[in-house]
């Protein structure tokens, strides 16, 4: 247990340092973008106003409100203090909504779409990959090229194909939005049903892509394990196939779990495009509008949330990993 604690503390230290650096980058990068977002807001508000000093006064007021007229380092400390209190400030592009408000209304869409899709895709993909490695033959011959093709198809390509075939031609599912355009989010069955129907296309477009990639990975891992010495030995001993398979797949699963952790980070990028294609009201669409509107506070906050999600999942999985596979822990503590 002592080894595990050392492993845990070591990892925790690394994660804290990474978090601080990521926080800094999330603050600085969006603010390096060209253009003055405050000027854009003022131009919107002061339309038709000819009094230059009046416009100047409005500009001054908003600069004070957003704190953009202070030097960068002062802004940073102010930002840190506010974030520590859970205050992310105002969104520039959707003023007077606060960043917290904008994110609160979009993050659930992304979480409810992404997490189940990634998990379902991962489970089906691994199952099919393992089956292909074990059954071989015709099943493998069909599944493999299909998987390579599916995993090579870009996320938006799959999204568009599903959109055109199932949404436009067959008309089974609506083609855009998170719920019917004539509805306001509420708790009625009608709304839930509408959200459920709108959920299908983005969900399956993500699932199908992941199945391909995971099936390929699992298949090679499983073939590798099936040829390992312990399997041959177990066969000589006359242990039942079913029992051997359990061990084989448990071992082959390990790298796939790391893959799951890493894929969550990359998924957000893919989701950005998929969400835009289906006009899904999630984080992806939010980031895009934020970037196009030069909305620093919103970009920083969304990037921070993604960072936190990736960090936490990676951390949990690495912790579990050290628990499941003692070799990793041993290798780490040697360094």
């Amino acid at each position: 247990m002592k080894g595990y604690r050392k492993y845990f503390l070591n990892k925790l230290g690394w994660f804290s340092v990474t978090l601080v650096a990521a926080f800094l980058l999330n603050f600085i990068l969006p603010r390096l973008m060209p253009g003055d977002p405050v000027a854009a807001i003022v131009a919107r508000l002061a339309q038709g106003m000819s009094d230059a000093t009046g416009v100047q006064a409005i500009y001054q007021q908003y600069s004070d409100l957003f704190g953009t007229n202070k030097p960068m380092h002062e802004q940073f400390f102010l930002y840190v203090r506010n974030v520590a209190r859970g205050d992310f400030g105002f969104s520039f592009s959707q003023y007077p909504r606060t960043v917290a408000d904008v994110i609160a209304s979009s993050i659930w869409w992304t979480l409810i779409l992404q997490l189940p899709a990634i998990l379902v895709g991962w489970l089906i993909g691994n199952f099919l990959g393992a089956l292909a490695a074990y059954r071989k033959g015709i099943f493998d011959k069909i599944l493999m090229p299909f998987s390579i093709f599916a995993s090579g198809l870009p996320a938006f390509g799959m999204a568009i194909v599903l959109l055109v075939v199932l949404g436009v031609n067959l008309g089974w599912f609506p083609t855009s939005g998170g719920y019917g355009f004539d509805m306001i989010p509420n708790r009625s069955w009608d709304f839930l049903w509408s959200a459920f129907v709108h959920y299908q296309l983005p969900f399956w477009s993500i699932v199908l892509i992941i199945i391909g990639g995971q099936a390929i990975g699992m298949r090679s891992m499983a073939i590798y394990e099936l040829n390992a010495d312990y399997v041959k030995y177990a066969r000589f001993m006359g242990i039942k196939d079913r029992k051997i398979l359990r061990y084989v797949f448990r071992n082959a699963m390990l790298p796939q779990i790391t893959g799951l952790a890493l894929s969550i980070g990359t998924m957000v990028g893919g989701a950005l495009v998929a969400e835009t294609i289906f006009s899904y009201p999630g984080l992806g669409s939010t980031i895009l509008t934020a970037v196009k509107g030069g909305d620093y506070p919103l970009i920083s906050a969304t990037a921070l949330i993604i960072t936190l999600m990736v960090l936490i999942t990676t951390f949990i999985i690495e912790m579990l990993y050290g628990f499941i596979d003692p070799r990793i822990k041993a290798a780490q503590s040697e360094d």
Binding site: W14, A22, I148, F149, L153, F156, V273
Partner: protein, 417 residues
């Protein structure tokens, strides 16, 4: 080297992937030599002309010789093209609604049906429950079937420049034909035109070329950075290793695609050329190559031949180049192939969001999709503007992935089938 190549080309998967890739490359190189039209030239007035062979109507009427062919089914075909099964049923529906008993209507008997239609159709008549769109449809239908049974030819007339009166120039019989080879102006648009009125096929070939270049540049940049950092981190170790891994972790935590979106937005529409985008993609995607190379080098670092080389007093550069690089060369090639494929995908993803290369200079696969999406080709059912592009992207990345899988099986014998 020769032996390795032989082995590689004996792998079925690699050969299939390689052949597809080379075929795409050859098309990209040879097509512009044969068809020299500019890919961005706007030839069509209007959007999304369907695929087909476009024969100049003026030239065919004006053609010197008209050939008379007596074909029995010509009239039937002519009628069918204007009056299909759905139209006949719609006519029946109207006639029934206007009071003619259903058993007196025979949709297969064209002359009788048209006769009934002509006698009964009244565009002003209101039928209960009929939408305005449907009423307009009937008015269009009525106009299109007008004179459909006539066996007379069409008279060509031209304006006399002096008097302004129409003068008969000739008559075109219904049995007149033109030999397509004698019509001077024919344009084959195998994939129709896009929203700007550009030839989709020519544009697609040119876009494939540009996207491949973007993929190559991005892949090479990413692989060079990843390889260098991975080698240094793995072999030198210590502080260099910690620093590299720290940066790599940062890049994993802030998803590279988000970074890519931020950077390309900051560059601004005007300065975003295809090369700039390619380099930016390369700069944001080296991380996993660096990680993978590092772990390979770590396993090589304490091999006997490396230790021997170290004892003989060779420099670090020499050891890395002669004792480590050859062992991971196959791996680096595989990583490069994957980076090229993901570079092409990244460009397409960026362009779909409207953050790709600027549109006026060169077409790319992503830009073509972006425009097709903006003009709603997927909703309007104009498949030729969108699906060939997706198919090309999928085919390129399929061939590259297949090559990669093939190589993987050659170099890692344990995962061979």
């Amino acid at each position: 080297m020769k032996h390795t190549l032989q082995q590689v080309f004996r792998s079925g998967k690699f050969v299939v992937g390689f052949s597809i890739f080379v075929a795409i490359l050859l098309i990209v190189i040879i097509y512009p030599l044969i068809i020299t039209d500019s890919p961005l030239e706007i030839i069509a007035q209007g959007t999304f002309f369907p695929p087909g062979i476009y024969v100049n109507a003026y030239d065919s009427i004006d053609s010197a010789t008209h050939y008379t062919l007596k074909l029995d089914d010509a009239a039937a075909k002519r009628i069918a093209s204007k009056l299909n099964e759905d139209d006949r049923l719609a006519m029946q529906e109207w006639l029934v609604a206007s009071g003619i008993p259903e058993n007196e209507i025979d949709t297969a008997d064209t002359p009788k049906l048209l006769d009934q239609w002509e006698n009964n159709f009244d565009p002003k008549k209101k039928i209960d429950g009929m939408t305005n769109a449907k009423r307009n449809y009937y008015i269009r239908l009525d106009a299109s079937v007008d004179g459909i049974l006539s066996t007379e030819g069409a008279i060509i007339a031209a304006k006399n420049p002096d008097t302004g009166a129409l003068e008969e120039k000739g008559i075109i019989e219904q049995s007149d034909y033109v030999n397509v080879r004698e019509v001077p102006n024919i344009r084959v648009l195998l994939l129709g035109t896009d929203n700007f009125g550009r030839d989709v096929l020519t544009e697609l070939v040119s876009a494939t070329g540009v996207s491949l270049q973007i993929g190559f540049v991005a892949g090479i940049v990413a692989t060079l950075i990843g390889l260098t950092l991975g080698l240094l981190a793995g072999y030198v170790g210590g502080l260099v290793d910690d620093a590299t891994m720290f940066v790599a972790n940062l890049f994993t935590v802030i998803p590279s695609f988000v970074l890519l979106v931020l950077i390309s937005f900051s560059i601004g529409q005007e300065k975003r050329g295809a090369t700039t985008i390619a380099v930016v993609i390369g700069l944001t995607s080296w991380v996993w190559t660096a990680r993978a190379v590092r772990s390979q080098v770590l396993s090589l670092r304490h091999r006997d031949h490396v230790n021997l080389s170290k004892l003989s007093g060779h420099s670090i550069v020499h050891i890395i180049l002669t004792d480590i690089l050859p062992y991971i060369a196959s791996y680096v090639v595989m990583a490069l192939i994957l980076q090229i494929s993901s570079g092409i995908l990244a460009e397409a993803g960026l362009s779909i969001l409207g953050l790709g290369p600027k549109t006026t200079e060169v077409p790319t696969l992503g830009l073509m999709m972006n425009w097709a999406m903006i003009y709603q080709s997927h909703i309007l059912g104009k498949w030729w503007a969108l699906f060939p592009v997706i198919f090309t992207i999928a085919l390129i990345s399929f061939s590259l992935n297949l090559m990669n899988t093939g190589l993987d099986q050659v170099f890692n014998p344990t995962i061979r089938d």
